[in-house]
């Protein structure tokens, strides 16, 4: 059983790659090409994503991980300041946490 679970676990780089892919899908490839997306990039200040774009991004994560993680629940528990400061690293860490607790 352990082996099966382990193969489905993603490492940080893989999660980061996936995040970038979702961001690309939400805002469009040509915009992403001009951006320097790093784990420290914040959604509001650096990526200039507005609230609806953040909501669509979170829907993509939800669709990808399904029951595995409660991403919408995690996001909706954020207050305004946390949401303003939300960056990729926070999401990567959260997904890692969920994976290791399984």
């Amino acid at each position: 059983m352990d082996a099966i679970v382990k193969t489905s676990k993603l490492n940080n780089d893989e999660i980061f790659g996936l995040m970038k892919q979702f961001i690309t899908e939400v805002i469009g490839e040509e915009f992403v090409e001009e951006m320097d997306i790093t784990p420290q990039s914040s959604f509001t200040k650096d990526l200039e994503m507005d609230s609806i774009e953040i909501v669509s991004f979170s829907e993509k994560i939800k669709a990808h991980f399904g029951e595995q993680i409660d991403f919408t629940g995690w996001l909706s528990a954020m207050d305004l300041d946390q949401l303003i400061n939300l960056n990729l690293e926070m999401i990567i860490n959260y997904i890692q946490e969920c994976q290791s607790s399984k």
Binding site: I27, D50, S51, D79, D81, I84
Partner: protein, 401 residues
């Protein structure tokens, strides 16, 4: 005959619907007043409307305070979720705190049968509760409610700001009273607003369009001279110069060489030269103009979006701040248009988007569907009828259907 009072913030988009509702009430023989901080509102009121100006025994400081709220919202460049924090902390809460005494004073003096307060003028609701006057709420920016569905914690944060202010003025309650439990009129249709379970006190009356004729010169011959697509580009009244300059530079690059007529709402002096196919005016007779157009490019202000849809026109929405991102989300979801990101979009994206909504009939067809839902919701007459019912203390059984 009943006596009504509207309590409005100094924001055009929130004031305009009350002018139409008030005009109908006056026409039906009622007495109607407007409580406001803005002395210029007097000139815009329908005939017979009373201006109830908030004035303090003014030390110069208080007078300055009053004036600063009139254009506070235009003074800062805000974007995205950040703007919600700015809106509450630096605009709505101080504005309401400053207005409370003035509102309370006018309610005591005017003795209305029914108070109609804007959903962002919660000081009006607080004053009404403290004086045991019945009040109803008009939600002039319905997307603001939608946030509670899409970003519940953000909504909770907003509510907490309101609750803290309520406590300051003696209303101890763990919920926001901004939206009246008696009647909260949501100025859109359920079809456009989208799925969200709301309590039965919420009633969708459709957009209340301000039909008042604005005396603005417009060169109609120039508009109709060419038989080519005609579009309107407007990003409303609340954004500052720098935002506008960047934005309209892209508009010029997008449409300057195109076979279309572009009506732009802007200060013409923003650029020395505008393309030949542009008609640029600081103000345009928007309601008279829309029936002659094929599409609209706007920032997602609730009024412009509703006016566009009630004319069955598709649009490209480029939201800047506040609830506009959510309004744009709705336009896309119902299929009546496309959205672009204000900071990221380039001239070619704008051109492509506009060509797409002009060429693909599905956008226009979706806009026509929303138009019908707006007409069915009843609009100004329906709103006025509801207000009359509640002014005589015989609340209708309301349903949200």
């Amino acid at each position: 005959m009943a006596k009504f009072v509207f309590i409005v913030p100094p924001l055009t988009g929130h004031i305009n619907p009350t002018l139409s509702m008030g005009a109908v009430l006056i026409h039906r023989g009622h007495q109607v007043g407007w409580i406001t901080l803005d002395p210029d509102l007097g000139a815009k009121l329908p005939e017979g409307g009373e201006l109830l100006l908030i004035r303090y025994n003014e030390s110069d400081q208080q007078k300055q305070d009053s004036e600063q709220y009139l254009d506070i919202i235009t003074k800062k460049i805000v974007y995205g979720i950040d703007s919600i924090k700015f809106l509450y902390e630096e605009v709505l809460i101080p504005l309401n705190r400053h207005s409370y005494e003035g509102i309370a004073g006018w309610l005591e003096k005017y003795k209305p049968d029914l108070v109609i307060t804007d959903h962002q003028m919660f000081a009006g609701a607080i004053a009404a509760v403290n004086q045991k006057l019945p009040y109803v709420t008009s939600v002039t920016a319905p997307a603001a409610i939608k946030i509670m569905d899409e970003l519940p914690k953000v909504h909770e944060w907003e509510v907490n700001q309101i609750i803290a202010l309520q406590e300051e003025f003696g209303v101890t309650k763990s919920t926001s009273i901004a939206c009246s439990g008696l009647l909260t009129m949501v100025l859109t249709s359920k079809e456009f607003f989208g799925e969200l379970e709301l309590a039965p006190n919420y009633h969708f009356v459709g957009p209340v369009i301000n039909r008042r004729v604005i005396k603005t010169e417009f060169n109609w011959d120039l508009l109709h001279k060419n038989n080519r697509p005609k579009i309107l580009v407007s990003i409303g009244t609340t954004f500052d110069h720098e935002h506008k300059k960047n934005f309209f530079a892209k508009v010029i690059a997008a449409f300057g060489q195109q076979n279309m007529t572009v009506v732009v709402v802007s200060d013409p002096s923003l650029f020395d030269v505008w393309p030949d196919n542009f008609i640029v005016q600081r103000m345009v007779p928007q309601l008279e103009l829309l029936p002659s157009l094929d599409a609209v490019v706007c920032h997602g202000g609730h009024n412009t979006v509703c006016e566009t849809l009630i004319n069955g026109l598709p649009m490209v929405v480029i939201p800047i701040a506040y609830d506009q991102s959510h309004v744009a989300g709705r336009v896309v979801r119902v299929g009546a248009g496309l959205r672009l990101n204000f900071n990221r979009f380039k001239a070619n994206h704008l051109l492509e988007a506009v060509l797409q909504i002009l060429e693909d009939p599905v956008f226009k067809a979706s806009a026509m569907k929303i138009k019908q839902s707006f007409l069915d919701a009843g609009g100004t007459e329906m709103a006025a009828t509801l207000l009359e019912k509640f002014s005589v203390n015989e609340p209708l059984e309301l349903s949200n259907s």
